[in-house]
Amino acid sequence: MTLIETHENLTQIHKQAVLDFEQKRSSPDFQIQGSDELKAPTEKEVRVVLRNSGVIDPYDIHEYIAKDGYLAIGKALQSMTPEEVIDEVLASGLLGRGGAGFPAGLKWRFARGAQGSPKFMICNADEGDPGAFMNRLLLETDPHAVIEGMLIGAYAVGSSQGYIYCRAEYPQAVKTMIHAIEQAREAGLLGNNILGSNFSFDLEVRMGAGAFVCGEETALMSSVEGRRGEPRPRPPFPAQSGLWRKPTNINNVETYGNVPQIILKGAEWFASMGTENCKGSKTFALAGDLNKPGLIEVPFGITLREIIFDVGGGIKDGKGFKAVQTGGPMGGCLPEKYLDIPVDYKSLTAAGSIMGSGGMIVMDEDTCMVDIARFFMEFTQDESCGKCVPCRVGTRRILEILTSICNGEGRGGDLELLETLCREIIQDSLCGLGQGAPNPVLSTLEHFRDEYEAHIYEKRCPAKTCRALIKFVINEENCTGCTLCAINCPVNAITGERKKVHVIDPDICTRCGICESVCNFNAVDII
């Protein structure tokens, strides 16, 4: 790697990189490792943050430079003051992509204005929401965009040291980032006097260790400091007193990923995408019962219906749509009637869910919403750090009630009790985890109350999911005696001779449903 010491160097290397890029692509042997998670954009999609993903080789800094990489930090250092950088980012309307949707430029202004030195930059890459993998993909496919975004932010804020906090569940992302940082350092794009200026900045990757709460910014900083990842009350906000009690700016991976292009192409260009209050585009991880799951990038303002049916290809196996879960375990489940709302931070919150970081799980008619609420509560209950009582004890009590409802042991009054508990946990918890934990319960109670009632009063699971309320039986007419179900049953509950109708012993059966999913003759009924 040649050292890029001046702006002239950068311009030359950029020119050469563009030529090399073209040449490489024209070679018949050229192949870039594709990913079935990110397909070519469909009609309703855009490629802003993901513009380089799957296009460049993430392990070669020259490829990033060929796509105008590091020209934005060059432009900022050469012709913009830190205040001008902040103004540009503010004017673009870029909102924090981690979930809260706070204006990124404003955050930078607070950190710049804060007293204290040194100042730190943090990239929150602790993407813990189940069902979300936008940040992982960006880190793995365009690591230098995140580095450049942090460089620009550091210049604006006046910071010389940054940390990327990445969860340990993403070993490939960690590897890619460390490699990219080393390359940038060798090129002189990280380190002292970047591009011959007075600006110096370096970066280090810190790994999480499997604690979801560390995605909360104060808990994250506590973890970087080497302690248990427990949140602390805010204020003071990180901009005033963050990492090691110094002014700290913390943004999400995708937020940083947007910055270089805003500086290069201008705030106006960025603000031309999206809605009145919500500019630009957003990546979503589409998963669940869809024909085309995967990573997408769409402009804000698109409707949920367009995302699910046009981009996501509709519901799998010709089944009916039931709900879309947005915002991860702090989010909510929205039914059909909300499918035409425009997707932005405000609309989703008004509908009783949240944007979150961009996970979107689509569920078909066979999904039990009580079970889903229980699933999320199991998650938050387990991930609660235990520091504050409402979250530690409250989530456990909610889980107990939900579990008893799923087990057919729900009682009258349970739903009212749940609602009271949820409201108190939201009001009294210390951090976003506790404040958001009741959301899946409240949103399913609001939109799918009849399902809860069927569990409690009729001891019936309408979606035929809750194990205590269903039974698997062999359909004698359809059964061919192929023995496939018996072979696959994990508890040997199925007996029967070859070519003769099989029988499931209900006392042994655990209702796992494997027999139903392996049967080719539709011969296992759920009653």
């Binding site: 079935d36 998670e37 993407e127 813990g128 929401d129 189940p130 069902g131 979300a132 993998f133 992982r136 340990a168 569940e169 993403y170 070993p171 810190r206 790994m207 999480g208 260790a209 499997g210 604690a211 979801f212 973890s223 970087v224 400091e225 080497g226 302690r227 248990r228 990842g229 090691w244 991880a285 589409l286 998963a287 669940g288 019962d289 799951p293 995967g294 990573l295 879960q325 991860g328 996970g359 799980i361 569920m363 999904t367 889903i372 699933f375 999320f376 998650f379 750090c385 496939l484 696959n488 994990p490 508890v491 655990t510 796992c512 449903g513 494997i514 999913s517 392996v518």
Partner: protein, 166 residues
């Protein structure tokens, strides 16, 4: 935390391992927030953070043992006992849960004769549930050591597991 019937070995009594442990501590000693970095490297390289090892790290790094123990018990990636030779993790993210992760677990439990969180008696395989690994479009997925296996079903499990059963 998984239960292991055999006694936990002490890596400090094995000279090569001790040298290795010392080098990890030495390399990171002066880093700000070194505790997490040292624990992560030890977990990755040694495989577990046993009680004597925690005590050693505390005294070498001159931090209270409570801080080390606090960190080790807080984060789910740290274990005080060794895992099996192969670590199989079942993703319990939303997409995998909806996609039938529980069926995979039940099948694996049957094939291996152990419950989730346990290690086979020959020490070959540990099975655990884990948080979303972010491969949701391939749900349900499991990871075996560092490798990811997606779009699985219960009927594919016996063949897949066989490769790792020594």
């Amino acid at each position: 935390m998984e239960t292991v019937s055999t006694t936990i070995p002490n890596p400090l009594t094995i000279p090569e391992q001790k040298t290795f442990i010392d080098s990890i501590i030495e390399r990171n000693r002066n880093k700000p927030g070194a505790t997490m970095v040292v624990c992560t490297e030890l977990q990755n390289e040694i495989g577990y953070l046993s009680a004597p090892l925690q005590e050693y790290v505390a005294s070498e790094m001159n931090v209270p043992l409570s801080s080390i123990r606090g960190v080790v018990t807080f984060y789910s990636f740290f274990t005080a006992a060794p895992r099996g030779k192969h670590s199989i993790k079942f993703c319990l993210g939303t997409a995998c849960y909806v996609g039938g992760a529980d069926q995979l677990i039940e099948k694996a439990e049957q094939v291996l004769g152990i419950k989730i969180g346990e290690t086979t008696s020959d020490g070959a395989i540990t099975i655990e549930a884990c948080r979303c690994v972010g491969a949701c479009s391939q749900a349900p997925v499991i990871t075996i050591d560092e490798e990811l296996f997606g779009k699985l079903s219960a009927s594919k499990m016996p063949k897949l597991l066989k490769k790792y059963q020594d």
